[in-house]
């Protein structure tokens, strides 16, 4: 199990890139942190998601 935006999920994707595909994350305007460290998109396919990892996914929205 790992956490995505604080919600527990079963660990079915091995890397962040796989998770992005599974969840259909938008192709741009997205940023991911794993355990409070930002993970650039170019590293998504290398970064293995481990049990108890806390991932947060953000996207760009309107705001002042």
């Amino acid at each position: 199990m790992f956490y995505l935006n604080d919600a527990p999920l079963p660990l079915t994707a091995s890397t962040v890139a796989e998770l992005a595909d599974q969840q259909a994350w938008p192709l741009q305007g997205i940023a991911v942190s794993v355990n409070q460290q930002v993970v650039p998109r170019r590293h998504w396919s290398e970064l293995v998601i481990k049990p108890h990892d806390r991932l947060h996914v953000f996207h760009i929205v309107a705001g002042g």
Binding site: A31, Q36, P40, I60, V61, G63
Partner: protein, 255 residues
């Protein structure tokens, strides 16, 4: 012409993109305003919400995107938010805002200064939303912020330049650009800020919440041009009454 961190801006009106009734209205208002910098925010992504690409149409307008750190309650969160924004958008520009006070939305000066110093060291171009405190603004300049963004009044309040006296001191003392941000409610507030010598203004609520945001954006555009030109032309100083027409040799017979 305004220069912030080696980037020049013809327009002294910057736009906040929040609170518009639709993305289309926001984009049309941005275009009508003539602004060259627009803020955006970060939010946790949720599956199934549907996506709207804000960035592409804004870039097509030729504006500088300025992501903000709204939602951050501490310096640590703000630094993380800035890194996420840089990753999401590919820009090092960041509007640093830390306002844990949920009622008045006033910025935390200690956390803002701490985060500003860290972000400057990490190569960000930092534009901090801050209190209209002249000493605090000098400290933000000292740690390397590219501008300061003191508030006129609480965010979204439309109360105008409640901090006018402090803004005048800040404008007098700072070398980096001074962008009045928050509380501007009317085009005349924006004109006043620029007449006082502020380098730019950032407006969101006053435009987005107007009954006609596109018309209001245009009104702000004109107001900012007026304020900028008035400051450059040289404003008359308040003083005693002085006639502007001759008051003699009209009704009296000439001798």
């Amino acid at each position: 012409m305004l220069t912030i961190a080696h980037q020049t801006f013809q327009s002294r009106l910057f736009l906040g993109s929040g609170k518009f009734s639709s993305v289309d209205t926001m984009l049309r208002a941005a275009e009508a305003s003539g602004c060259q910098m627009v803020t955006l925010a970060l939010k946790r992504w949720q599956q199934g919400l549907g996506e709207c690409d804000l960035v592409t149409p804004l870039l097509q307008l030729g504006v500088q995107i300025l992501p903000n750190t709204a939602g951050a309650r501490t310096a640590h969160e703000a630094v993380l938010a800035a890194e996420l924004a840089r990753e999401a958008l590919g820009t090092s520009w960041i509007k640093l805002e830390i306002h844990p006070d949920a009622r008045y939305l006033l910025p935390d000066p200690k956390a803002t200064l701490e985060a500003a110093e860290t972000l400057v060291q990490r190569g960000f171009i930092v534009l901090p939303y801050c209190s209209a405190d002249p000493w605090h603004c000098l400290q933000l300049q000292e740690v390397g912020c590219a501008a300061v963004m003191p508030l006129g009044a609480p965010i979204g309040s439309n109360q105008g330049l409640q901090t006018r006296a402090m803004l005048e001191i800040i404008i007098d003392q700072l070398q980096v650009p001074v962008i009045v941000d928050a509380g501007i409610g009317r085009p005349s507030d924006a004109a006043l800020a620029l007449e006082l010598g502020a380098d730019a203004v950032l407006v969101n609520t006053a435009i987005a919440s107007s009954a006609s945001p596109v018309s209001m954006a245009m009104a702000f555009r004109h107001a900012c041009l007026a304020g900028e030109q008035a400051f450059a032309a040289g404003l008359g100083q308040p003083g005693p009454a002085l006639a502007t027409s001759p008051l003699w040799q009209f009704l009296e017979p000439s001798s």
